[in-house]
Every structure is written in C-alpha cells, then in structure tokens.
C-alpha cells in the first residue's frame, strides 16, 4: 500500500494506487533540518551539530548556577519561570541561565566562577577519549529515519475485541476497492460493514455507520447537499460540540492565552475572528482583559461569517450579545461583522483598521483555514491578507490529522483512525449522556465532516484538515515565525481539562512551541501562534 505523504507529490496512477513501493517513499521524503543532529532529532530535540559544544558548556554553567543556589531558588525555576519550547535545547538552557544572571549567557568557560576551580575548556569537550566512543561508528547503522513532516502519526486506540478488528478491516477493504474503482466489490463490502456494525455497540458502531454511509454515497455517487445552505444549522451543531467535550474549550483557551500575551501593554486591541460562529471564544478573553492590571484596553472585534439562508444578520446578533457582556464588565467594545462565502473573498480594505497604526491586531482562526484548500490559491490569498493586516499575533487551531492527502485510500484510513478516536473520547469521557442532545448533535457534527472527507471531491470537499507539521511548513514559507506557547499556558490548559475533561483520558502535549489536545496518546487538535517574520 502506498504511503504517499508529501504534499506536492503528483497524483499516483489511478489503477495502481498501491504500486509505489516503500523505497520510493523514503527517497521522496524531505531531508531532516539542515545541520540538526540526527540522534537528537529522533529523541525530540533540535540541536545543531555545530552548537553541541556550546550547549554542553551552558549546561555546565547552569549546573554550577543551580548548585550554588538555595533549594528555594531552584524551586523557583520550576514554579515561577515560564518555560518555552523544550525541543530547542539551546534556547531552553539559555533561558534557564538568564534566570540566574542575565549577563551570563554565552560566556565562555574561560570566565572564572567562584565555586569552580576545575573548569573544562572547550578543547576538553571535544577530546573525549576512550573505548566509550564507537570510533568506527557507521552512521548508517541503526539510523532511524525521521518521518516526513507530512506523515501522520496515527496512534490507534484499538478496541481489541475481534469483531471490532474485523469491522475496521472490512471498512478498509471497501475503501481499497473504491480506490481501485472496483465498485462491485466495494458495494458488497459496504453492505457487509452494515451487517458487522450492528453487532457493535457504542462508538465503534457509530463510526462504522458514518463511514459506511459516506462510502455508500461515494459508490453510488449520491453526494451530500451543498454545504453553504446549512450555515445556521452548522452553527448550532458546533454549539453542541462545544458543550459535549473539552475540544473547543481547549481551542479557545489556548488561542486566547496567546492573544492575551501578545496584547500585553496595548491600550487598543482588535481581534479579527475568521470563524465567529456564536462568538463563544470572546467572553473569556474579554473577562481576562477586564481583569488586566492597569485596566482593560478598548476592544474591537471583527467577525467573519457565511451568508444566512434567510438573510438574517446572525453576526450582528452575536455582536449585540457580546456588547451587553462588555457593558457589564466595563470593557469598551466595538463590533463589526462581515459576511463572506469564503475568506478568500475578503479584501484588506474592508477591515476597519485604524490608520494611525495604534491598535494591536490579532487574527484568529478556529477550524476554518483548512476550508481554503478546496480552491486553488485560496490559502495563499488569505495568508497574504493576514500579512497586510500587520497583526501582532495570528492564532490558528486545526484538527491534528492529514485528511487532505492526494490518494483517497490514505485519506480514508487517516480519517477512520482520527474519528474513531474522537468518538471514543466522546463516549469514554462520559461528559454527556449518550442520548442527550449535545451527544447526538455532536455525532451529527462529526458525521458531516466524515461524509465530506470521504464522499466529496473538488470544491465540495472542504474538510481538508492538515497536520501541525504541514501547517508549520506552510506558515514558514508564507513568511510567518512561530510564537511559542509556554509552560504557563500548558499548565492552565491541563487545569481546564481537569475541570472539563471528564476523567483522565484527555491530555495536553507540548510540541515544539505549540500545544495539542489529545485523547490518551493521540493528538486531536493543535493550537499554534504566529507573527510576521521580521526581516
């Protein structure tokens, strides 16, 4: 089976979807980051080979500094200091050192220090003698490949009952038949899935049913209705999704954290929300701004939303609600709503940006940007738009999965694993009763995504989720630098999960400066923050 993960790879020959062998895939993988030590890379650290001696020296300095500090002092490093991006070992050590003495960063080992008379000089670090070093170390021996950035690590939480496995197998076999255009076989298999699904209970049954339905639509070419007609319906569905678990709460919370930090010190702030929906993200931010020491800034919110089928002004209604809240908590508030079929239709001119450049701008997008990939040029246009807004910070929350692969079968398999985990988390966390409206509507919400990923194509297929690794590449090429979310955000997100996570299945994970919400070991949602690259 082909594992074509790289974006930009051309379409595989239709009939021979699985013809490309494993060897070819490895050749096509992008090279690991230039200069990064490979051994560290597989352990999750980015250390340049040329920096290693320097990092070692700083570690030594840090140890000395910690050794001469009181226990309380060392303790402060853990409680008071905010840690960022542990993958960047060098950066982390620097930031720890700067806690002790801001002037000590980068000082060479030749500087004297009261406690040490046995300083090791640079040369000693390099001259490590003895049989401990495998001098004939062949780099190829036991070398582990770094997975390509586009490779989706799929942690599969398996219901290890045998019928569950057979059901999954049949679904995949059906998808494979579809991939090879063997519709007769696919038809037989999708019916068999229906039979097997009935014998399942709970999450497995629901997932199987949604995927089977989506496959049936693809086989019989009965495509779902046009998405744009159902926007008010989809808002309602998302509200139920909000209530059914910690997913959206995590998204809003972590994005708000980054926005708050970026807005620190500003007296006029402006948030442009690409995915306003019911505006559920903003009350919390407004509360936090209201409680800011020194008083709140004036807060402007621009919300983008799709046109409503009955031409009602849903955006203004949201704006009114938020204005009433702002009034209660004493925050100066202004709201503007813009209707657009697609973010790509927006023009920078329509935004009410203060010409005097005195407002701090944040652009926020939760589960919205991936839709732009349905049309060529869409995402590029919007990223350029964002740049021209000159924001302090751009917060992006996306599903952590690659549902935009070129090969149908790969998409199908990724989606099967992702949504299985999602449904499993909904069921097992026990946050809502299975027959409650929140539960049922959340299933419909996810079911529509499944249908879109599996049964739709072209501009109709809008659920084009991509992984954090893929977004990093895209944002980097478009001229954005990451803004790291730190240990304080991590800790608070963990506390949020303790409150809203129902049990201990949900986890926050730090990933190279970004935060991810996962169910056990499988990441589901990733929050990243960006700013314009300073040239």
């Amino acid at each position: 089976m082909k594992r074509d993960r790289d974006r930009g790879n051309t379409e595989v020959a239709a009939a021979g979807g699985s013809s490309t062998g494993k060897l070819k895939m490895w050749e096509e993988q992008p090279q690991p980051d230039a200069g990064m030590d490979e051994l560290f890379a597989v352990l999750g650290y980015k250390v340049k080979s040329t920096d290693m001696a320097d990092v070692a020296e700083k570690l030594e300095q840090l140890e000395m500094a910690m050794g001469t500090t009181t226990e309380d002092g060392v303790s402060l490093l853990s409680t008071d200091t905010v840690h960022y991006n542990p993958s960047d070992l060098s950066g982390w050590v620097d930031s720890m050192l700067s806690e002790f003495n801001p002037t000590q960063i980068g000082i060479s080992g030749h500087e004297s220090s009261p406690c040490s008379s046995n300083l090791i000089y640079d040369d000693d670090l390099r001259a490590i003698p003895g049989g401990a070093i495998f001098s004939n170390y062949d780099n190829k021996r036991m070398k582990l490949q770094q997975p390509s950035p586009a490779a989706v690590p799929t942690a599969v939480l398996v219901d290890s009952q045998e019928t569950g496995v057979r059901l999954v197998h049949t679904l995949m076999a059906c998808a494979e038949a579809v991939q090879h255009n063997n519709m007769k076989l696919a038809n037989a298999l999708v019916k068999h899935v229906g039979v097997l699904a009935v014998s399942q209970i709970g999450a497995m049954r629901k997932v199987a049913t949604y995927f089977a339905e989506a496959l049936a639509r693809k086989i019989y070419k009965i495509y779902p209705n046009d998405n744009s007609l159902e926007s008010s319906y989809s808002d309602a569905l998302q509200m139920h999704f909000y209530e059914s678990g910690p997913y959206l709460k995590f998204a809003h919370f972590t994005a708000n954290q980054a926005i708050l930090e970026a807005f620190s010190g500003a007296s006029k702030v402006h948030v442009i929300d690409f995915s306003l929906k019911q505006g559920m993200q903003w009350p919390a931010l407004m509360q936090a701004l209201a409680l800011r020491p020194g008083g709140p800034p004036s807060f402007k919110l621009t919300g983008i939303g799709p046109p409503q089928p009955d031409n009602s002004d849903a955006l203004q209604e949201v704006g009114w609600k938020l204005a009433r809240l702002a009034d209660t908590i004493g925050v100066e508030f202004e709201f503007k709503g813009y209707v657009a079929n697609s973010l790509a239709d927006l023009d920078v001119g329509i935004f009410d940006i203060s010409p005097s450049n005195d407002e701090s701008i944040a652009v926020n997008s939760v589960f919205e940007l991936h839709r732009l990939m349905a049309r060529p040029g869409g995402i590029e246009r919007v990223l350029n738009l964002i740049k021209s807004l000159n924001p302090e910070i751009v917060t992006i929350v996306e599903q952590e999965a690659n549902h935009n692969g070129v090969v149908f079968l790969d998409r199908f398999n990724e989606a099967l694993h992702y949504y299985s985990t999602m449904f499993d988390s909904l069921e097992t966390s026990g946050l809502t009763r299975p027959d409650s409206q929140d539960s049922l509507m959340t299933e419909v919400y996810l079911g529509r995504q499944i249908c879109n990923v599996v049964a739709c194509e072209g501009v109709e297929r809008v659920e084009r989720h991509e992984t954090l690794a893929q977004w990093r590449v895209r944002m980097g090429s478009a001229g954005f630098d990451p803004v790291h979310l730190g240990s304080n955000a991590f800790k608070q997100a963990s506390m949020l999960l303790a409150l809203f996570g129902g049990g201990d299945g949900f986890r926050v994970e730090e990933n190279d400066g970004c935060l991810m919400l996962g169910w056990h070991t499988r990441p589901l949602i990733a929050t990243s923050a960006w700013r314009l690259r300073r040239v």
Binding site: F40, A132, S487
Partner: protein
Amino acid sequence: MAGGNEVNANESKRVVPLNTWILISNFKLAYNMLRRPDGTFNRDLNEFLDRKVPANANPVDGVYSFDVLDRATSLINRVYLSSTKNETQWGISELEKPLSTTEIVPVIVFFHGGSFVHSSANSAIYDTFCRRLVNTCKAAVVSVNYRRSPEHRYPCAYDDGWAALKWVKSISWLKSGKDVSKVHVYLAGDSSGGNIAHHVAVRAAEEGVEVLGNILLHPLFGGEERTESEKKLDGKYFVKIQDRDWYWRAYLPEGEDRDHPACNVFGSRSKSIEGLVYFPKSLVVVAGLDLLQDWQLGYVEGLKKSGHEVKLLYLEKATIGFYFLPNNDHFHCLMDEMKSDLIWVSISLHLKIVKEAFLVGFSLSRFPDRLPVMEEDVLVLIGIRLSS
C-alpha cells in the same frame, strides 16, 4: 576510578560521547528543578518538558506502532511490531493473525525507566529504544504506560505491570510458534522498569503465568545501607544518592524506609523466592559507573543463591542511560547480548523439544526442519553426534 573523593562534575564528560552527555545532563538538571524538597513533584512541568511521540501505524525503518487502551484498567500499552514484507496490508489488519505460525516470535513486555516518576511509554527516548529492540531482537515489544509516583505509589506500578502481562498473554495476535499455542513473553525494563520487571516476574511465577526471561537494565534496587559504590560514585556520573533517596520516598508507602521489599528485594524483609520454580532466567546488565551497582550485583548474587539462573553483563565504563543513543560500544554490546540471549532461550525451548523427543526414541528425521545453531557441547549433551 580516577581522582579522590572530590566531586568532579566533569568526569562524566570523559566517558560518554558528547550527545549522550548533553542528553543525560539535560534530564538531570530538569529533574532537579522538578523535585521539590517537601516530596511533591511538578508534574505539569515534567509533562511539558518531556518529548513525546504519537504511535505511528506507518512503518518507519520496518517498525510500526499503535496504542491499545485496555478498557478494564485504563492502561495504555504501546505495541511495536515488525512490518510485514508484503506491504499491501495496512498494519492494523494484521491483528487477525498470530505473529507467526512457523517460528517463535518473542514478545518483550517493556517497562520504561524514570525512577517511577518520570517518562511515559510515549516518551521519545523510550519509543525510539523500543523500536530498536524490535529490529535487533526480531521481537514484538509492548511498552507499558504504568502509573507513576508520587501520585500513585507502591504497588500501583507492579499492579499495572501485572495487568499488562495478563493482557499480553490473552492476545491472539501476539501468539507464535508452530502450534500457535501461546504468547512467548519476556519481561524487560531499565531503571525502575527493571525493578517492576522483577516484581511482576515474581508474581507471575507465584501464579503460574509463564515468563521466558527477564532482562533488567541497570535496575533500581536499594536499601538503607550505603554501599561502597554509592559512596564512591555519588555525584560523579549524573546521579546523586540524595536524588535516589527522594525517588524511593516518592514511591514507597509513606513512612517506609528503603529496606522495604519493593526496594531491597533480597533484604531481611523480603520473602524468599527460593521455591519459585517458574521464576524466569534473568539477564542483568550493570553499568560500571552506576552508583547502584553494588545493589544490582547483590541482586545477581541473590538470584543465584535462590537457585535461579542469571547472567550478568557488566559494562565497566558505562554510565546510566548508555542505551538511549546508539553511539557507543556499550549500546551495541547490549543489543548483541539481548539478541543472542533471546535466541538462547528459544534454543533451550527447542532443546527441550529435542531432548524429550530423543528420550522417547524419535528418529532424527522427525525433528523440526530448521534446527537453530547450537553450541557443540550442547549437541553432545543430547547425544547428537557431529559429523566429521
């Protein structure tokens, strides 16, 4: 050892490659920040700093992995399997078939280290190590995400280890062998994982669950007494006695001391394992620069005195954590040893079959087609004459 008693923090740099020194020093300093003098632990920051990796059902270097949630215990086990040569099957569909119907494929139940407090099955250092094990030992590996202290003290880790062992034994797709009769399990672990492996093996032997072998990598044992190696090596190679003490205080029941049977397994408070016929053979790997070596060597002696088979691999110049990176002799030595020992135990299984067959007068032609390579003297033992 070089030098006097003066703590020379730079000795460690002379005996490990630079990457390893950086890696372990980084852990050491971070861990120093996380442990609080009052015995509490900054769990959030620990998880924040720990580099984790998701499982990957796409084979990387011939190994793929997936996580299994055991609903009965909420335990996560990460399973690592060798990808089939036939690439038309997505990994997970293999769960309908046993590992092999022609040969024995060992299943290593692995307990990661971290002094009972740090790391997880999905920590990058352990994920990487387990993947290497799959390839080197031609085994399946199941890494157990046991509950950690100080939040979950003794005996949680042992209970989780036991639950994992029982789960592994029950899984049809981990079975192998010509008659596909059972899962061929080895227990393995480094540091606290080694300690867990021992205790799980004891329980397995007591309850009649077959474990073919134990592999302990500088296992965590200790006691109230301060041994020579602890005194001599304190603070010299990444580890201080006071840190070890902290971890035991965090793991053992409150108010207990290090002579507790969990820690001092051959001490006066521990139950003897002399009668335990089914306690597995052990391979114990000791790093010569590990301050706990006297306890580990004592463990080896204890096993021998209790009548159990044990092999010691003493790596004179190795420090703790030598196996995280494949950039030194000790790493390769360990891998070679594990590979041959797994085969050794497989051979002895074959041997058992052969011996029994011989004893009831089967002819040579009825033996399995593929006899593994055996030592000369062993062949003589069972009466097979070598051709000239």
